[in-house]
Amino acid sequence: DVKVTQSSRYLVKRTGEKVFLECVQDMDHENMFWYRQDPGLGLRLIYFSYDVKMKEKGDIPEGYSVSREKKERFSLILESASTNQTSMYLCASSLNRAYNEKLFFGSGTQLSVL
């Protein structure tokens, strides 16, 4: 089975801090994604990547950046955390972009910004 691992289950940060969320997948998937999940809003795509060193903006990229230096690792960076970035962050991966197929999700990181 595909395993998508997010480095932290819970994080508490202060406003203005730089925050790194790490995600690793073990199935050589080409595609990786970062979503945030908020009550009543569903999953919203922040950034995604189809290849190493490539990134594309999702629907809500403001206040975030990403890094994909290795195929298996996709990092989400909050340059200066704000309280409205308190949320559940979900990383996902999929095999390739040839056609649409299921995403495999990590367990999520619940981030609280105080």
Binding site: V4, F33, G40, L41, G42, L43, L45, F48, G58, L90, R97, A98, Y99, N100, E101, K102, L103, F104, F105, G106, S107, G108
Partner: protein, 111 residues
């Protein structure tokens, strides 16, 4: 704009009964649909998917029905068990476009 929605935010069923969770989609060009289950404190877990060239697909205790005429997707769970209690949400996409997720339906199973 295009959206994926759910008819009921909460569904309560008795253990052993069948559950039906519904999802409406608005993009008639969508050709791929997927259902996820999310238990409390966990990430979404893939249940079943279906492409637009099919109208029904079965898995273990689950069936997905696709009605393209009315743009409706449903997930049927047979003999619902307490372990099925979770939030279920659907997603759609067209071609290689990214998935668009609905907001979810909470399924509660009572004894």
């Amino acid at each position: 704009g295009e959206s994926v929605g759910l008819h009921l935010p909460t569904l309560s069923v008795q253990e052993g009964d069948n559950s039906i969770i519904n999802c409406a989609y608005s993009n008639s060009a969508s050709d791929y649909f997927i259902w996820y289950k999310q238990e409390s404190g966990k990430g979404p877990q893939f249940i079943i998917d279906i492409r637009s060239n099919m109208d029904k697909r079965q898995g273990q205790r689950v069936t997905v029905l696709l009605n393209k005429t009315v743009k409706h997707l449903s997930l049927q769970i047979a003999a619902t068990q307490p372990g099925d209690s979770a939030v279920y949400f659907c997603a759609e996409s067209r071609g290689t476009d990214k998935l668009i997720f609905g907001t979810g339906t909470r399924l509660q199973v009572f004894p």
